[in-house]
């Protein structure tokens, strides 16, 4: 087990290296650089651009250097904990991302909890009551959630919340609490705004989760050990919890790998539509304006979390499910 973990960790190094190269190249692929998109933006608003000044900035930002050198400096910097400089914000990347990370984690955690709380009971119910009215009804509801475009739902809910509850549109708190120290009122204001993104992001996730749990559970429920258990007179609830449900939860643990980056990145589209102060819109605008170190470092961070999350979920699965653990040794 230990050597397995060590090997996995060592394998992460070349993986991340390749990802870093890919990220850098892809960000650089569109024509031009940050300054060119900056000029384009100024021009489109009728603001004059001084070519001399742009040249000066290009040197200051190091954009005049060859790409290989830029990549190398970025890589070396990251190893030392320096994630580079955001041109758009004129600040080090860590400062730009810093504040937003916390709020992103709040939203994502709340959303994940919301998804679980809804999806779990419904998934179990529709698996145990397959093809009943309840199953059909709840599945329809789930599919509706999956099929409704998130951004549309977001806009509708923002409007309704504004008209009926007087909640300010977009954002995660009322304007006066932004940058203010934490207080009870601020937390209340966040709670007042939090439920909309949680529901909007949650609905689509919920439907997916219900379907997966239902399918996994149905697979198990057909198996003979369940019949045996039932024949032996185990109460249905205990039977369900003790055997098939546990096995059906494997996919859940395997999901942890995706969960970690999700918690950090937030749902980008919904966050943009709802103007949430999370990292999603930040990443999007950084990619649009070719603010390459901000975008690059952020993507690297996500990649690191994904790789790490997959490792964690693999280890957890091995620990939880003897079949996986034993199967691993048999094949060796």
């Amino acid at each position: 087990m230990l050597s397995y973990v060590i090997r996995r960790i060592l394998a992460m190094i070349p993986t991340l290296l390749i990802i870093s190269m890919l990220v850098f190249v892809i960000i650089q692929l569109p024509p031009g650089d940050y300054l060119e998109s900056h000029i384009a933006e100024l021009q489109s608003q009728g603001e004059a651009v001084d070519e001399k000044k742009i040249q000066f900035l290009r040197e200051q930002y190091g954009l005049d250097k060859p790409m290989i050198e830029q990549y190398w400096l970025w890589l070396i910097g990251m190893l030392q904990g320096d994630f580079g400089y955001s041109f758009e914000y004129d600040l080090p990347v860590t400062e730009v991302v810093g504040d937003r990370l916390f709020l992103t984690v709040i939203i994502s955690t709340a959303t994940i909890l919301f998804t679980w709380m809804i999806a779990f009971p419904i998934g179990i119910y529709s698996a145990t009551h397959q093809y009943s009215w309840g199953d059909y009804g709840l599945s329809t509801l789930g599919f509706l959630g999956l099929a409704t475009p998130n951004f549309l739902l977001a806009l509708v809910m923002l409007y309704l919340a504004n008209v009926y509850f007087g909640t300010s549109i977009g954002g995660l708190m009322d304007a006066q609490y932004i940058d203010a120290p934490w207080s009870v009122d601020k937390v209340l204001s966040i709670l007042e705004h939090l439920w909309i993104p949680v529901i909007v992001i949650g609905t689509s996730g919920t439907a997916g989760m219900i379907r997966r749990l239902r399918a996994n559970l149905l697979d198990e429920l057909q198996k003979q050990y369940v019949t045996t258990g039932r024949a032996k007179g185990l109460p249905p609830g205990k039977l369900l919890r003790k055997y098939p449900l546990r096995i059906a939860l494997n996919f859940f643990v395997a999901d942890v790998g995706n969960l970690l980056p999700q918690v950090i990145s937030g749902a980008e589209i919904v966050a943009v539509v709802m103007s949430l102060p999370t990292t999603g819109p930040l990443l999007l605008s950084a990619l649009q304006s070719q603010d390459m170190y901000l975008a690059g470092s952020f993507l690297m961070f996500l990649a690191l979390l994904t790789v790490f999350g997959v490792l964690v979920s693999d280890i957890a699965l091995a620990l939880l499910d003897p079949r996986i653990r034993l199967g691993g040794t048999v094949s060796k």
Binding site: E59, Q60, D90, M274
Partner: protein, 643 residues
């Protein structure tokens, strides 16, 4: 509140009596009758801030509010919405405190300056206000101009290519003197008509910098160790990075940088909410002796730009035009009553809301030859049904027009707007036949001399469906003249690079930036002077780089335009400039270098019902109006409920 009323009235009456007694000695009166700003009273009482008499210059600029504009009272918080953090630079535009600035009538008058003298259009003497101070209380003197000229503009590290182009005449530097603390003189060997307009621009030329603050980051005044430390601390490549990052008056991202604007940023980025508070040393007062601005603070909320119309409709902004579009108008109107705001329609000041740019420098030889023929360009214009576009896309609210100056400009002439824009397929077809494009294929599309069908690909920046809608309509009418149109949307960068490289045959973009110019504004936009002019990017690049890149213009009409630009740069009188402007407009009109479609497109402006002094109608454009700038947002004030 009720009890206070009569007192305030009495005070007002008293100052009115004063006014009658002492006029025309306006500034003297102002000194006598200055009133302390309520929100600053506590600071003054505590001794943290000098009283108002010592804060305003000895001879402040007295803004006489009359007509629709009424003198107001201090207080309140103005909420604005912006799409991204970088947009806080709009406050520098809205604030519009410039050395000299435009009035709503588009005349240039002294603003930060007490006055200025011009001799022969080449010697400019600027007189500063005595006792004028930066927002941190440090005097604003000719030393600040000297610092800019000697330590920034002529510092080889900070300004590699030397001072900016507006400060050069025929490539030669001015002679700059600082006779005393309140006088600055720029003299050139020949007239420099660009100087004052550059100072008055919405994006101004800063020829002054807060020397007392910036000096600490300049190696001439600061020890090498301190600078080294700053470079290391901020991870810069050199000292210029440290200096430049502090010295960005236009970006307003450094709250430590002293300013002369009405409101001063107090929030360090990054943030979702920026608070600008009043500059206690601001140089303007009203006729009642109240120091401007009336409004205590401006709070800018950052929200994603797509959500701004919705937020504005929900009453979350007191003054909003940015990120609103004409198609938001009906939505805003329906929520206006509930959320207590007014939706006004202002005008945009672009020569054309949309214009087609035939690329005279395109790489394709056959098309280039065709596009350079004026008959072809005229035929293209005649084959556009502008009336239909106006009715279908703009509800008939806009004007069909060439890409030229608007009727509000003193340089406007009717034929500039209307020649060659009638929908006349017969004439268009005749012109095209004359060009020898008589063969057609089975679709009815004319064939080029080399046998290819006449298919024009129009590049669009693809940001709105509006452009593609208009192009679709043009497509239909052009087809009846035997021309097939395709449009390619791409991102702005790709769009521009295709044009610069000559891969584009035609593109669609907005028209003249400043379409309500006076003769004193430079006519550079009418001749190939910049690569951003999409009808002749390579010629523009040639001019811009002094012949280093691009191609040399060879079309006679274009050469004449360039000669006229040169002539304008050396004019001394108003009449000469008018003459040249008219001539250049005429050439552009006759040659149809750009094919304007519509202009005078209204722009919705949302104004809170509690906000006073915002004009009912106006121009919403960056040049020359600086958006709200020329209407002096420092004179806007809130009714009692919001103070």
């Amino acid at each position: 509140m009720q009890i206070l009323r009569p007192g305030r009235l009495m005070r007002w009456l008293a100052s009115l009596v004063w006014l009658l007694a002492v006029t025309p000695g306006g500034s003297l009166l102002a000194m006598q009758g200055l009133q302390e700003t309520p929100s600053l009273q506590a600071l003054v009482d505590a001794g943290d801030l000098p009283p108002v008499e010592e804060r305003v210059p000895q001879d402040p600029q007295v803004v006489e509010l009359s007509g629709d504009k009424v003198p107001g009272e201090h207080g309140g918080e103005l909420r604005l919405l912006m799409g991204k953090q970088k947009d806080i630079r709009q406050m520098v535009i809205y604030g519009y405190a410039r050395l000299v600035g435009y009035t709503p009538e588009l005349e240039i008058e002294a603003d930060l300056l007490k006055s200025y003298d011009v001799v022969d259009g080449r010697v400019f003497t600027l007189h500063l206000r005595k006792g004028h101070r930066w927002s941190d209380g440090h005097p604003f003197t000719s030393e600040d101009f000297r610092y800019y000229w000697e330590d920034i503009a002529n510092n080889p590290d900070l300004s590699k290519g030397g001072p900016p182009r507006e400060l050069l005449v025929d490539g030669q530097l001015p002679h700059v003197e600082f006779p005393d603390a309140h006088t600055v003189r720029y003299s050139w060997h020949a007239p420099n008509p660009y100087f004052l307009t550059a100072l008055a621009g919405a994006v101004p030329l800063y020829i002054y910098k807060p020397a007392h603050y910036l000096r600490q980051f300049h190696p001439r005044y600061q020890s090498a160790e301190v600078i080294e430390e700053l470079i290391a601390q901020e991870k810069r490549r050199n000292w210029m990075g440290v200096h430049v990052n502090r010295d960005r008056p236009y970006k307003a991202t450094n709250p430590d940088l002293p300013t002369l604007q009405p409101w001063v940023n107090t929030t360090f980025p990054p943030s979702e909410r920026f608070v600008f508070t009043r500059n206690p040393y601001y140089h303007r007062i009203d006729q009642n002796g109240r120091q401007l601005p009336y409004i205590d603070s401006v709070v800018i909320g950052i929200a994603s730009s797509g959500l701004i119309p919705a937020k504005t409709g929900a009453g979350e902004s007191d003054l909003q035009a940015r990120y609103l579009r004409m198609d938001n108008y009906t939505f805003l109107k329906t929520t206006a009553k509930r959320n207590e705001f007014d939706v006004r329609l202002w005008q945009t000041a672009k020569g054309a809301h949309l214009a087609l740019y035939p690329d005279l420098n395109t790489n394709d030889e056959v098309y280039r030859k065709l596009l350079r023929d004026v008959r072809f360009r005229r035929a293209l214009s005649l084959a556009i049904n502008r009336h239909e576009i106006n009715q279908v896309v703009y509800f008939g609210l806009v004007q069909e027009s060439n890409n030229t100056v608007l009727a509000e400009s003193p340089l406007y002439q009717r034929e500039d707007q209307y020649s060659w824009i009638d929908f006349d397929l017969q004439q268009a077809n005749r012109l095209l036949d004359e060009l020898g494009l008589t063969e057609v294929d089975d679709r009815g599309v004319r064939l080029l001399p080399d046998g290819r069908p006449l298919e024009i690909v129009v590049q669009t920046a693809g940001e709105s469906t509006e452009q593609t809608d208009v192009l679709e309509l043009i497509h239909d009418s052009w087809l009846r003249a035997g021309i097939k149109l395709y449009s390619i949307p791409s991102t702005r960068e790709v769009f521009r690079n295709r044009i610069f490289s000559g891969d584009a045959v035609m593109s669609i973009w907005t028209g003249l930036e400043n379409a309500i110019p006076t003769a004193e504004n430079s006519p550079l936009e009418l001749a190939p002077t910049s690569k951003y002019q999409y009808q002749w990017p390579k010629w523009g690049s040639y001019y811009e780089s002094g012949g280093q890149s691009g191609e040399e213009p060879d079309l006679p009409a274009v050469l004449e335009l360039l000669e006229l630009i040169d002539a304008w740069s050396h004019t001394e009188t108003h009449e000469q400039r008018v003459e040249i402007w008219r001539r250049m407009l005429k050439i552009n009109r006759e040659q149809m270098f750009t094919i304007g479609i519509v202009n005078h497109v209204p722009h919705p402006v949302v104004v809170s019902n509690f906000l006073r002094n915002v004009p009912q109608a106006g121009f919403y454009d960056i040049a020359p109006g600086a958006y709200f700038g020329i209407y002096k947002p420092d004179t806007f004030w809130f009714k009692e409920e919001r103070r």
